[in-house]
Amino acid sequence: MKKWICIICGHVYDEAKGMPESGIAPGTAFADLPEDWVCPECGSPKESFEPQDE
């Protein structure tokens, strides 16, 4: 399970946690998010996310 960071606003998507409040179950891989998914913080597209170094 990885974390992904939005390089525009710094929002972190944690695959382990998912986003249950938005219907994304814990354990959902970033790659499995819909292609039109956008950063919940700034609205940037998926391409704005990069793997976050621990």
């Binding site: 390089i7 525009i8 606003c9 919940p40 913080e41 700034c42 609205g43 704005s48």
Partner: protein, 429 residues
């Protein structure tokens, strides 16, 4: 004056200052009638006096902000001054050209990637500690005052000093930095004359010289440091580094994003809370609401009077209109924050509001880079205010509120007097 879209030759809907005049005193005191009309009747309209398109509804503002064809690069503007010869370019020009607003989408992502470490948690934690001290200093200076002017004591002091601490300016140079910040902001405004802009550019020179020297010093060190400036100097991505003007452009962006906004945040936040005492009580009881509260207070205050500027980088067909290449587009986000389609109870302050998809810090690629700074600063200030003045109220119910009607960008409150009620509390104890 027309009160309906004029039958312009182009067929586009048009308004003038009779419908929306952001400089009018009545508007500054109460913008909502004009904004509600714009949202209802003119979601997308050409403003003849401002010579720009205005986008007013929440949905359309969201769309423009996320569409890279609408660039914030004012060099694209049809009325922009002609480009200068290389030899005539100032540090301001060179930093602007390398900055977030001017570079291509690809270079913008590279800049964001390289600057991300400077906004990382360890760097920000150090900055937060410095701002915490600064907030305490501002309140300590008030002593046991029975009343004080929030603008004078807090809002005019904290924001620029917070940025100066973030970028590592020593306290004895804060006034110097303040001047630099004011002129940086003025130099980017298209709603002042070209002459005023150039005068402001000229006045930024000492500030740029100072930061160039700081960067040069850091580059000579074995390690440039772990603070904000050091993180930028040391930033590396597959061997790529930020050059001097890119680093200057980040300081530039922080100033434009963080100083004006935070000044108004402080006055409007306190005004919002003390005008809605049930919400003030709620925040006292539930401090965990603070982050949401800051965003909602920004939305509720809606203090920006001038829209965000974007410029069409090509001819764009947009919701039935053709926006020509080079035309200015005013993204009227303060207006949009009060769109009943997004917020049915837009005129209520609700610190528990679901704010998903809000545009308070913009949206898309140019999402506000000063977000963290503004949120932290606002949160620390309000927490300290609540701790010290739990029974505060606006003096005479109004705070003797006054505005700086000539401010170039905001419905700036420049007087807001709070009765602290500290003495009565002490007497009661």
């Amino acid at each position: 004056m027309s009160h309906s879209p004029a039958a312009a030759a182009s067929g586009r809907p048009e308004i003038d200052g009779a419908v929306f005049n952001p400089y009018a005193k009545d508007f500054i005191r109460d913008p909502h009638p004009a904004w509600q009309r714009l949202i209802r009747d003119f979601p997308l309209v050409w403003h003849k006096d401002l010579q720009m398109w205005l986008v007013n509804s929440h949905a359309l503002c969201d769309e423009v902000l996320k569409d890279s064809r609408f660039t914030p690069n004012f060099r694209v503007w049809e009325l922009a001054p002609p480009p200068k010869a290389e030899a005539d370019k100032t540090d301001f020009d060179l930093a602007y050209e390398k900055g977030f607003f001017a570079v291509s989408t690809k270079d913008h992502l590279r800049l964001r990637r390289l600057t991300l470490p400077a906004f990382s948690r360890p760097v920000m934690a150090k900055i937060e500690a410095k701002i915490r001290d600064l907030v305490a200093e501002c309140f300590d200076a008030l002593g046991d005052a029975g009343r004080f002017d929030v603008y004078e004591a807090i809002a005019s002091k904290l924001p620029v000093r917070a940025i100066s601490r973030m970028v590592g300016v020593p306290t004895d140079r804060e006034e110097f930095f303040h001047e630099f910040a004011v002129n940086i902001i003025k130099a980017t405004r298209i709603n002042i004359s070209a002459r005023e802009r150039e005068a402001a550019v000229e006045l930024t020179k000492p500030g740029f010289a100072y930061f160039k020297e700081q960067i040069a010093q850091r580059r000579t060190l074995p390690h440039p440091g772990e603070d904000f400036l050091g993180s930028l100097v040391g930033a590396s991505d597959n061997g790529e580094r930020l050059d001097d003007y890119e680093i200057l452009s980040v300081v530039f962006a922080l100033i434009t994003a963080g100083s004006d906004t935070a000044t108004d945040l402080h006055t409007f936040a306190i005004h919002g809370l003390l005008s809605n005492l049930k919400q003030y009580e709620l925040l006292k009881r539930q401090p965990q609401l603070m982050e949401n509260a800051i965003i909602e207070l920004l939305r509720y205050g809606s203090f920006g009077k001038i829209p965000f500027f974007r410029f069409a980088s090509e001819d764009i067909d947009f919701h039935g209109q053709t926006i020509r290449r080079g035309q200015a587009v005013g993204v009227n986000i303060s207006c949009a924050w009060n769109d009943p389609a997004k917020y049915p109870d837009w005129n209520q302050l609700d610190l528990q509001r679901r704010l998903d998809g809000n545009l308070v810090f913009g949206a898309g690629a140019h999402f506000c880079i000063g977000t963290y700074l503004v949120r932290v600063q606002g949160g620390l200030m309000l927490s300290e205010f609540i701790r010290r003045y739990p029974e505060a109220e606006l003096l005479d119910g109004t705070g003797e509120l006054d505005y700086d009607y000539r401010h170039h960008n905001a419905r700036r409150i420049n007087r807001l007097v709070v009765r602290t009620n500290r003495v009565s509390l002490q007497q009661a104890a």
